[in-house]
């Protein structure tokens, strides 16, 4: 009798778990994390990062937020965004980069595997115009990615952008350098990228490949985490505690 009830409880729990996971799966599209069969999959090449996303793949057709707290992190944030962009631009060939204070050097994008002539830069004067421009650009489904450097954005404004991105399946990257108020915005993930000292194998002198401490501070329906990443030969590599061996023959082509 006792055994019977225990068995029943187990079945019940199993059923509940199934219902809950089914509900979670139903909720995800409502939260802006759709996965369409037509979407091209983005392969970051780093399993721990990919596993922290729902469906275990980098979400597209939504907004990602990148924070850079100090002035010195602009370059590493932009570098990480450029590296992500090269993965996203494989299927569609055009991206739009919107900014009011742009220092990005187009020729350097070649080092990240992007043909710089495929990026359209929009340099505006006012922050307010940036919001309008992002929304218009997100509505154009011929564009792979819209990248915007903006300081202030409130929740309501960001929700409009997220809805536009869901509609058109265009991915939006919002880079916020030293925001005055660190408010929550309607995005799928929040990243923070900081540079780390580079290392060459076998203690060779000189500057090595770019290394970043990539923090995924928030991710909707996923697991946040923090990783040490090195970018070389157009691919990400996670750095384990032990220094990994990089063959000497590899060409350094990142900047």
């Amino acid at each position: 009798m006792k055994e019977q009830s225990f068995h029943n409880e187990k079945v019940c729990a199993y059923k509940n778990a199934r219902i809950i996971s089914q509900l979670q799966r139903d909720i995800m599209p409502l939260q802006g994390l759709k996965k369409l069969s037509t979407d091209s999959s983005v392969n970051l090449g780093v399993h721990p990062i990919e596993n922290s996303f729902p469906y275990s793949s980098f979400p597209i057709g939504c907004i990602h937020e990148f924070l850079s707290a100090s002035n010195n992190d602009i370059a590493s944030t932009n570098g990480f965004v450029a590296a992500l962009l090269s993965k996203l631009m494989l299927s569609k060939a055009t991206a739009i980069w919107i900014s009011t204070t742009r220092n990005l050097f187009p020729a350097a994008l070649k080092n990240f595997g992007i043909d710089p002539e495929h990026i359209i830069f929009i340099d505006l004067e006012k922050e307010k115009d940036v919001l309008y421009t992002i929304e218009e650009a997100l509505k154009c489904n011929r564009i792979a990615t819209v990248i915007a450097e903006i300081k202030q954005i409130n929740f309501k404004e960001s929700r409009r952008l997220q809805l536009a991105a869901e509609q058109s399946r265009v991915t939006g990257f919002i880079i916020r350098h030293q925001p005055k108020v660190l408010n929550t915005i309607a995005c799928v993930s929040r990243w923070c990228v900081k540079s780390l000292p580079s290392e060459l194998s076998n203690g060779m002198p000189g500057v090595g490949f770019p290394r970043w401490n990539v923090e995924l501070l928030k991710v909707r329906n996923g697991k946040p985490g923090s990783w040490k990443i090195e970018y070389s030969s157009n691919s990400f590599q996670e750095i384990k505690e032990k220094v990994i061996d990089i063959p000497q023959t590899q060409i350094r082509n990142v900047g």
């Binding site: 037509t38 091209s40 010195n72 602009i74 370059a75 590493s76 932009n78 570098g79 990480f80 450029a82 590296a83 299927s91 569609k92 060939a93 055009t94 220092n103 990005l104 050097f105 187009p106 020729a107 350097a108 994008l109 070649k110 080092n111 043909d115 710089p116 002539e117 495929h118 990026i119 359209i120 830069f121 929009i122 340099d123 505006l124 004067e125 115009d129 309008y132 421009t133 218009e136 650009a137 154009c140 489904n141 011929r142 564009i143 792979a144 540079s195 000292p197 580079s198 002198p205 000189g206 500057v207 090595g208 770019p210 290394r211 970043w212 970018y231 350094r252 082509n253 990142v254 900047g255």
Partner: protein, 503 residues
């Protein structure tokens, strides 16, 4: 006879152009007899007389002293030689509302009205409208309409019976007129007068060889031009755009909705035509001619040759509020100032491959440029120069492709400062990377550095010093691009600069 039955012309003669204009500016002159005079060989010669003075017996060419004897009360105003030309030019521009092809003549205007009169229902109504509008301004004018410029000119200056000469009736209209109506020079006129040929009809049918022998080619040419045996061309004051549409309004338009409807109609017409010819516009100008003679206009630019009326309308729409209709707009005009062939892009079944040629991207950029100005969109192509800031150039259009490959053999910083900034360094000589440097009041200790990359400006472009660039990393793991300008030598300490940041 030349086969141009469709051609019709109107000539307008301003009989008291300058004096009427003065009366228009100073209405108190209306009842005073006054003349314009110009000094000539120590005398004042009358160049133009007002209508009132003319009625009192004064005429141009008289000496002012003589005129004062005839009419002691006459007022004399100094003449300005350039005034007539200026006034006629303005009037000619104003006449664009009646026809796109209009030009200035001596003391008058010539309008090519082929295919225009029906918009005013009939030729009578058309000519009446022109005359009544100009008379409304206070000008004393005479106007005539005919198949040729010559006949219209003759009838407007010398005709007495009717102003509209129906097609093919030039000979009947010219026959009773004075030979001077043919725009001949004084010698020819005198010759004709001596022979007693006092009207055109008396020599019109004479053998051509006889006329040529006595009076030369000019008389025959003028006669042929007037009778439509020889074509005469005019140079329009405002060049007519090959791609333009016009929409005259019976009632002046004052509302934004009205302007929008007019614009939509014009765009549809123009785009239909462009579409038929496989063309699209890059620059379009929307002109609104106001009742009070002012011109309001809007211009749009596109990134991509477009003949999509909806998209073009959207570009104009946000600017419509800038139009000041005042008392109303009586003519709308849409001109395509730059037209290009449309390259038809092969349609793909899948939505991928969103290349730069796609119309959607071009239309997005049009919208943004239209809203925020033309200099916001930048796309870069490689340039064949060594200095990093000159190694890229802005692409002229979305279609431009790189002429050379992007270089990938040298590292370039992701952030490049617009201007290199001076830094203070401690560096071992002669050519080692710095040990530490001070940038924005912060000391950075260099932990790692790469060997230098020397970049020299092209000597034929820039005579500056060479730059030795170093990639360095500080104790926090930030990577910088520094350079030293020139060499160390005995009495010269080269300057160091910060130029960029690596990822």
């Amino acid at each position: 006879m030349l086969d141009d039955m469709g051609k019709r012309f109107v000539t307008i003669w301003f009989r008291h152009l300058k004096t009427d204009w003065m009366i228009r500016r100073k209405p108190e002159l209306k009842d005073i007899p006054f003349v314009l005079a110009h000094p000539d060989r120590g005398r004042m010669i009358i160049t133009e007389v007002s209508a009132v003075a003319k009625a009192k017996g004064l005429c141009a060419g008289m000496v002012v002293a003589d005129a004062r004897i005839i009419l002691p009360a006459v007022q004399v105003v100094n003449d300005d030689a350039n005034l007539a030309g200026k006034l006629l030019k303005n009037l000619c521009a104003w006449c664009i509302r009646f026809t796109p092809v209009a030009t200035v003549d001596t003391a008058g205007l010539i309008l090519d009205i082929s295919g225009c009169a029906h918009l005013w229902e009939s030729e009578e109504n058309y000519l009446r409208t022109i005359i009544s509008k100009l008379k409304g301004f206070g000008y004393h004018i005479r106007a005539a309409m005919a198949d040729t410029i010559g006949t219209a000119w003759a009838v407007s200056r010398y005709g007495k019976v009717k102003a509209i000469i129906h097609p093919g009736e030039q000979a009947e209209a010219l026959a009773p007129l004075l030979p001077a109506a043919l725009r001949l020079d004084a010698d020819t006129l005198e010759g004709l007068h001596k022979l007693g040929l006092d009207n055109i009809g008396s020599f019109m049918n004479m053998p051509r060889s006889a006329l040529r022998r006595r009076f030369g080619d000019q008389l025959l040419l003028r006669l042929d031009q007037a009778l439509n045996f020889e074509e005469e061309f005019i140079q329009p004051l405002i060049a007519v755009e090959p791609y333009s549409e016009r929409l005259p309004c019976l009632e002046p338009i004052q509302t934004a909705t009205g302007i929008e409807i007019a614009l939509q109609k014009l765009l549809e017409e123009l785009c239909k035509r462009l579409h038929k010819e496989g063309k699209g516009l890059r620059i379009a100008c929307f002109k609104c001619f106001r009742v009070d003679g002012e011109l309001e206009q809007l211009t749009i630019h596109t990134n991509h040759a477009s003949n999509n009326p909806k998209h073009l309308f959207k570009l104009f729409q946000i600017k419509i509020e800038n139009i000041e209709p005042a008392l109303g707009i009586e003519l709308f005009m849409l001109e395509a100032l730059k037209v290009e062939d449309i390259i038809t892009v092969q349609q793909t079944f899948w939505s991928g491959n969103g290349s730069l040629e796609s119309t959607e991207v071009a239309e997005l950029l049009d919208n943004l440029q239209n809203k925020f100005g033309n200099n916001i969109v930048h796309r870069y192509l490689p340039d064949e120069q060594h200095l990093p800031e000159l190694s890229i150039k802005i692409a002229g259009s979305l279609k431009d492709k790189p002429a050379t490959e992007w270089r990938n053999d040298k590292l370039r910083p992701i952030q490049l400062l617009h201007e290199p900034q001076r830094i203070e360094v401690t560096a071992p000589i002669p050519d080692y990377p710095p040990m530490n440097f001070r940038y924005k009041n912060r000391l950075h200790k260099v932990q790692k550095a790469d060997a230098c990359e020397r970049i020299e400006a092209e000597w034929w472009l820039n005579a500056g010093l060479h730059r030795d660039y170093y990639i360095v990393e500080d104790e926090e793991g930030k990577r910088y691009w520094l350079f030293r300008e020139g060499h160390y030598d005995a009495d010269n300490k080269p300057a160091w600069f910060m130029h960029g940041f690596f990822a």
